[in-house]
Assembly symmetry: C2
């Protein structure tokens, strides 16, 4: 009967302290999205597999958690089908539903399904868990939250400007110093066009990214090893060693990409964004970075990535512009731009830099000690008044030993303990103990409320 | 390629407006739980099936959503096993995980698994979705949220008193007039003991509940039809017709249950709660009701249920005291008491009574019209100041026709629209239109902020 309980590998329980910290993160992101007019939606955890399959490549299909049809899941199978033991074919028939793998595909499905009820441009954010049957490892889970924001139905680059402001504001509020990196798919396409190596753009960005580590010769050697021609490598030199601020980089690129319409369009877009951001009070640094190669199959314009400056960790937010979110569901021309905050990594950064404000824990503010039946009965209406003043208060529910009650307050990090015995009841006073300083004083109700607030 | 997208039956998408309303509900419940020192936890959507199976009866086992093992789910099966086509046996081997069915079993598992890290009494709340493969129907979904609060590790009836306060406070804040109904399992046991029909207690409560509809003779006929003896029915008469306030009811019961230790204990518990509640400012009415028979297999003491007074709908919150939450996981003696708010029904009640406060929609407060490139560029730093003042603001991202932009503001129910053209830019003014009154005036920055706030 009795089992030693556990949870599936790659999943997590969240303790009260972890939840308070996670809520601090989610609420902050939510607040900033609201400040910019974004609205929240939610979609079901389960989607039809027909919605999910084929959207994440073969690997993605394998990593979907599939839900066995309820009822008699084997009824439709012939003996022969079963004897085949083809797990993929079996699952395709025995499972109609799967757990969502990200928030993008469900969002695309949502937009198409509710197109007539939405007003475009549609600015939505969504904070929900996703599930992937990945091999669990440090920092990689099978259930984790994504915090996506997207604007769809608008080509305007003002949306890109706004997302930079949003990322800046979120990390400014967290107190995390960041660099927002920006690239543009069209610039990369332009470069590939100019050197006639269109299919090697990923190899090129990967190699260029190693300049600091392996030097120019190292980068060139790596490019050679990927089969890139000497002529192409020669043409790439000014881009690889490109230095200076965003303007200077654009100047170098303009010269190099003079013959590429697409490349020039990418530069124009980037300059538009830089020009508009210049007039805004940004806390973060904004850096154009050609080695940024996130989602090259997906993004068609600007690409974003945020790096924390004071912690060694991968990107903590990313996103970009895409041309055709909903085409796969039969609705073309729905362009958009979006970002995704990496909640788990932000959690780690805030922990490592110890940046959670004290009041983000939202714990009980005052615990009333329970001295016995009479005192407890006396305290109930007293505490009702304390709570009516907005103070989070609790009464220890048993007349346990003082040490036990104080230990409870300690464990819960409750900053004040109130003691009301016979004397205090007679005088209408409350003995208030500051758990940090150890200081203790006798106060009236108004004073108590003031002290705690 | 293109598919007409849909979602699994019994699941829902939540639109921005629905989400705003749901967040209003969840945040309110959360705030009140915090006010009483409850802390939030979360558990994974997927639990091991060994944790879930056998906890909800045979019917419950059938209604669990089971997740097909990833990788080769058919590898471990012999041809013979497959040919059997026994769906339940098959699932037991091909699925290790399932979606949680409620929050109680995962909570019990959590308490046992983390017993050494928790300080008891442990006051936790949990707001998460659960999944049931029930036949969907109006008001019944396959994915829905539960909002549970429990105190475990304390026998004190002060916890029951506190939960009454919590329910009262939540519905007071919502503006929903309610009756909190209370019963006690021990009183029901006492009654069954006295009339020697211990196994018929459910039949008895069901029949008694029909007094208003079918009259005393009707109730007695129904009792007879359930095989209850004439002697027992005669003894039951004073309970069936019991009238008056809570005190009077207890007086009748005390007399009737004088011979039942358990029954008298139930009365004592109920009177303790009534005595303590009397000193507190309750907005709800509190009514002892012997026909309340929720969770009779599970609850061992007080039973709660909340009914809305102004809307015809089932109970909108329920709960009670249980003796052994964690015994099934090998940890005995963990008594507790808890409640569960029915978010979907509360949502319906708030809708039907139109009780959502206007500001609960958290929409954009002011939209700036986009007259063109120059104006948009001018507005970005202006809007940064507006947002710095905490105002939710957006700029329409394209210089679209005025009608389209105003239509967008209308659809999103944005209360103010700001118009800044050549003249306003020259004068450093903003033309602010109140969308409700139609009133329009030229204001400076400080005035704008003040008007909108």
């Amino acid at each position: 009967m009795a089992q030693k309980p556990s949870i599936p590998k790659g999943t997590r329980d969240f303790s009260p302290e972890e939840m308070a910290k996670r809520n601090y993160i989610f609420n902050m992101i939510r607040d900033v999205y609201h400040l910019y007019g974004f609205q929240q939606i939610e979609t079901p955890a389960m989607e039809n597999l027909s919605t999910l399959m084929g959207k994440y490549g073969e690997e993605g299909d394998r990593l979907l958690f599939k839900i066995l049809n309820s009822g008699d899941c084997l009824a439709g199978f012939t003996d022969e089908e079963l004897r085949e033991k083809n797990a993929l074919k079996f699952a395709a028939k025995a499972c109609e539903k799967g757990l969502r793998y990200d928030l993008t595909v469900p969002f695309a499905r949502f937009v198409v399904q509710h197109r007539n009820d939405l007003s475009f441009p549609f600015k939505r954010y969504q904070i929900q868990p996703v599930w992937r049957a990945d091999r669990p490892q440090k920092g990689r889970y099978r259930e984790f939250y994504q915090c996506d924001g997207d604007v769809v139905g608008s080509d305007s680059l003002l949306n890109e400007v706004e997302f930079i402001q949003i990322m800046d504001e979120v990390f400014r509020r967290f107190g995390i110093r960041v660099c927002i990196k920006m690239n543009n798919r069209k610039i990369l396409t332009g470069i590939a066009e100019m050197i006639r190596e269109a299919d090697k753009i990923t190899d090129i960005t990967v190699a260029m990214d190693k300049l600091d580590k392996i030097g120019l010769d190292g980068v060139n050697d790596e490019l050679r090893s990927k089969g890139i021609s000497e002529e192409a490598i020669a043409k790439l030199q000014p881009v690889i060693v490109m230095k200076g601020d965003n303007r200077e980089k654009m100047a170098v690129l303009k010269e190099m990409l003079a013959g590429s319409e697409t490349g020039l369009k990418g530069i124009e877009e980037t300059e538009y964004i830089l020009n508009h951001i210049e007039t805004l009070p940004l806390a973060a640094t904004l850096e154009t970075d050609l080695t940024l190669a996130r989602g090259l199959n997906y993004y068609t314009g600007t690409i974003f990535e945020v790096k924390a400056l004071d912690v060694e960790i991968g990107s903590i937010t990313g996103g970009g512009r895409y041309d055709n979110l909903t085409g796969v569901f039969g609705m073309d021309g729905m362009s958009g731009v979006g970002i995704s905050f990496g909640a788990d990594r932000i959690y780690d950064v805030l922990n490592r830099l110890d940046l959670y404000p004290a009041d983000s824990l939202q714990t009980t503010q005052v615990m009333f000690v329970n001295f016995g039946e009479k005192e407890a009965a006396y305290l109930l209406p007293v505490m009702a008044r304390v709570r009516a003043a907005g103070i989070r208060a609790e009464l220890y529910p048993e007349a346990a030993k003082m040490k036990k009650q104080m230990g409870y307050a300690d464990a819960k990090r409750i900053p004040f303990v109130a003691l009301v015995g016979e004397n205090e009841m007679a005088e209408g006073k409350i003995n208030l103990k500051n758990m940090q300083s150890g200081e203790q004083e006798s106060v009236g109700m108004d004073e108590l409320i003031e002290k705690i607030k």
